[in-house]
Symmetry: D2
Subunit: 334 residues, 4 copies
């Protein structure tokens, strides 16, 4: 309450709390009176109280997310992707090109991704692009090529869903992990749709989403019944212009504390340049990430998009080696 | 090019530019060589060049947006909303509650919004909410109530579309202006859909979208054929925690320079508190905005959402008075 | 406290609060226990408690600033600058060039600044520059030229102090208002020095300082005995690259609520381009600012620094006219 | 140049470039004309050109920093701190408490820091604090205690200088490494002072400084003749409120590319909580940092400041073990 709040004002707040079936605890300090709501405060919205007179501000003490919270589920969850575990002691690197270009490119990529030891592969058939005039992905044709190439090398596939109307198509091609991109993290209708199916979902962090908003976005999926959620940090937007985004390693230990779900990192989109990827990938694993999404292309100079951030097959394989070493230092394996 | 780039590297860049049908201009400085592409560089993607060896970085000189740019259309565009102009010398204030609650509330709101001199009214039937456990709007029933209330007072209606699958419903209730919310600014599939129809669109700025990304999002709509676009600044996300967002007044003169389309401001969502709204609303008009989206509710303390940011009818009417004064000082009317 | 905090942990926190002479209020909710400290909590540091086991987090309820707070002094303070009031109903525009270049330039600038109706003039003798290789100001010689030019036109002078060791020199030239620049907002030793003298101080906001940190910086000055403090917003750093800074108009009503001291705005440094200045200046006054710092130069194209952000004499005079109109609409004069 | 710039406008820019002794290269595209300056463009300031008519914008192609740049010195520099190398294959961890409290605390800290294998120790005698009402450090008395404790265990000392007037005192106690804190990164007068002496300097990144501004701040020191500079990343300010700062690992590979000087990281101030420090410390080393500044205290719960971010002796020693493992994986030792 404001300094000098009256008894009537205090009473009004107390009544409003009680009208929702909670109790009120009144603590009178020397300068301020603080009123606490006792009960399930998720029913209350702070803004209901901010508009009452005499209220300085109001806030939640209990977190708004439930199903995804570590409090509701103490052990680490391991997500099963067609028999491949994400989470737990095993670290999973998901390699592949930015976009599905041709069958030949995908076959070649699947071959080198598998050879480097990966069990999952990434690739975009539908691409969110800032400009309407640039390549938007191969669409359904791309899904078909991706599925075919991955099957040949026994890889599970990860690809981005941008539009709820395409979900059936994704299921038809048996996409193993549905990726929700950074621009869709708060596309609540899309989150509700993937919450209704039983497929693992990689939920990328919005480019300027707080950890709390990200957890709430996951809660949207979980609330629909789908608890197979993998968080993916991909760099946040800051004032810095020397690189595309700032990869936020701090979110890794913080998420590990707040949620039982696995956390992976995309160092390729974070840095935006292939030469930065090995340093960032190593940092993510050292900080405790459960896996990575890494762009790698059979021939980066000829990639149709994000050419400057893909590793070539040799760089990718070298990176896998040093990641294996770091994983072992912290008691994991890759 | 990097310092010490070789002639072969310079040649490779030059060839790549020429392979897209453009010419190359090579400028050799004392420390760096700069290569310029001459022709329609929108065909080129800087990342195609960043991956070539010897390249330090590459960038666009020409802007990526065309239809929405001031260069393509010198005069200010005036958007016609059922006979009401947005843009030009007239300033339009669009008042109304955060969400459609009941028919009675909407009737009362429409009455006081119209009485204050507004021609357009706002209200949300579908609400994007951070938590899946809070009120999500009245949906189609809300559209019906809104339409009915607005018709009684001859007001045009503005309401948010979150899902392409609801577009037909919006058209059925003859929504006058479709609002694309901050979280949907880069929902490219949704932008393409509203690009195909012939209805005015208010495009809110993403909460951390650059002006350039915002113009590109508008270009997605325009590229589909719908040029009836109104930009709406609603506060950006920064490090500051004392208020919800930072209302960016600088974007007003900058957009006026870059685009011919109207620019309005939402001071209610920017500040997040009703007591800040008059100062912010006045600042927006003084900076040259073509209008405002202002939350006002017949009884803010009982609003179902964002209760603490709505003006009551008297506050709203008082604000209209001072805005009229400011509009006149800068040669406009309201 | 964490969910599941033990009675011993609750007891330890309670004891620690009591050891500082305060009382503890314990509120046991269904999911969390909240412990409040009752008494002058400025003696406590939240981090003292965050390190105790069982504590989830701790925070201040009462604000850390006292002397500068609106709670300690209800009326608006008016700062007396050699007989000229800053704060109150009068709006003060402080015009002048970025840097003191020559006597001739300063005489010419003082003439046009005075002619436009200003009572105070700005100009830098010591310039903080990002690069060590660019012009760093004329130093003491510049102060002398500035004083001479200002005296001729009966203007008070405002100039930046970067180094405590130069304070005596500033006093010798009888600088009327000492400006603390954005990079010095948390130069605590410098703040303490200007806190010991009895001269008005303009305290610019750090380029990414929160309002709370800014108020605390002012509290450093006030704690030394100098209460003649004027806040100056000059744009904050964000992700946006289309303009130098984002002028934060929201801080104006917020500061007016939190502090009794005057608030001015520098639209020139905020936007960084002369063509943006009129819109930003009008927005600042409309939002309730008590004045402005505006760069104006007799011949902007020949200015030695920040050439692209200075208004020429005619533009400056035109701006004064429209500002006067806006001031009147909101019950002030200029 | 703007679209439609006239020949006269192009001529004026060309003349201005030539008046500084450089040549101009004119490249006429289909939509824009681009003018390049050929010669040492550090003499030119883009803002000199932005104010000319017909100019859209101007920018530097060559970087503004020279002495600190990798281009001027290809090999990694190793800074000699009283016989201990910073930079090169050896990784240095600098442990110690936030502030110097008592002789006993410092003796105890020096003992455990040395026992863990460190060669350098940190500790603050002068503390920059946001509030004037909190503990400001023990000052000169603190330096004396620190020196004494460090000498007993043969440790080099690192401590923060906030005020140029204290430099002589620092030299008198033979401080081995002078730390310039985040709030002083652009205190140019202080940078010039430490540029005149021959002591290693740790230059912390400003809390919202770009990499480019940071390199320019180092250039201020280097331009004075002192090339013994160590960069220290300590977390940047963003929109995220779940942790104090965001530790920017991306700056490590970027600085390694741009400068020959060593780069260390302070994971304690970045995260702000002791439980986050191990993950962040490991990430920094994995990303290629040359060392760390880590807060550790004999008894964190009784620390006088930042109690919640210091590791206890056991945690510190455990961390050293895992860091050693990671260093070895990437070919370094600790």
């Amino acid at each position: 309450m404001n300094r000098g709040a009256t008894e009537d004002q205090i009473g009004a707040v107390t009544s409003k709390i009680q009208s929702f079936g909670l109790d009120a605890n009144i603590s009178r300090g020397t300068e301020r009176t603080v009123i606490g709501a006792i009960g399930d405060e998720r029913k209350l919205d702070p803004e209901m109280f901010d508009s009452l007179s005499g209220v300085e501000y109001s806030m939640h003490i209990v977190k708004q997310y439930k199903i995804v919270s570590r409090e509701s589920h103490r052990q680490d969850s391991i997500i099963d992707v067609g028999g491949i575990p994400v989470g737990g002691t095993q670290v999973q690197v998901i390699g592949g090109p930015c976009s599905v270009e041709t069958q030949e490119q995908m076959d070649s990529a699947a071959q080198h991704v598998g050879a480097a030891g990966c069990k999952l592969m990434r690739g975009g058939a539908f691409k969110p692009r800032t400009s309407p005039y640039t390549f938007q992905g191969n669409g359904e044709e791309g899904l078909k090529m991706f599925r075919k190439a991955a099957d040949k090398y026994k890889l599970r596939i990860v690809t981005e869903l941008m539009d709820a109307r395409m979900l059936d198509t994704f299921l038809r091609y048996d996409v193993d992990v549905i990726q929700i991109g950074t621009r869709s993290m708060q596309n609540f209708e899309l989150l509700k749709e993937v919450g209704r199916i039983n497929k693992p979902v990689i939920l990328k962090r919005g480019m300027s989403a707080t950890v709390s908003e990200w957890l709430m976005a996951a809660e949207y999926i979980a609330a629909g019944g789908n608890h197979n959620i993998i968080f993916c940090e991909r760099g946040i937007r800051t004032f810095e212009t020397a690189y595309r985004n700032v990869m936020d390693v701090t979110c890794i230990p913080v998420l590990k504390k707040e949620t039982h779900l696995p956390v992976i990192v995309d160092p390729s989109h974070a840095g935006g340049k292939a030469w930065m990827v090995p340093a960032l990938a190593r940092a993510a694993i050292a900080a405790g990430a459960d896996g990575l999404l890494v762009e790698t292309h059979p021939n980066p100079c000829e990639a149709w998009c994000d050419a400057d951030q893909a590793l070539n097959p040799q760089e990718f394989q070298d990176l896998m080696g040093s990641l294996r070493g770091i994983a072992e230092v912290i008691g994991r394996n890759l």
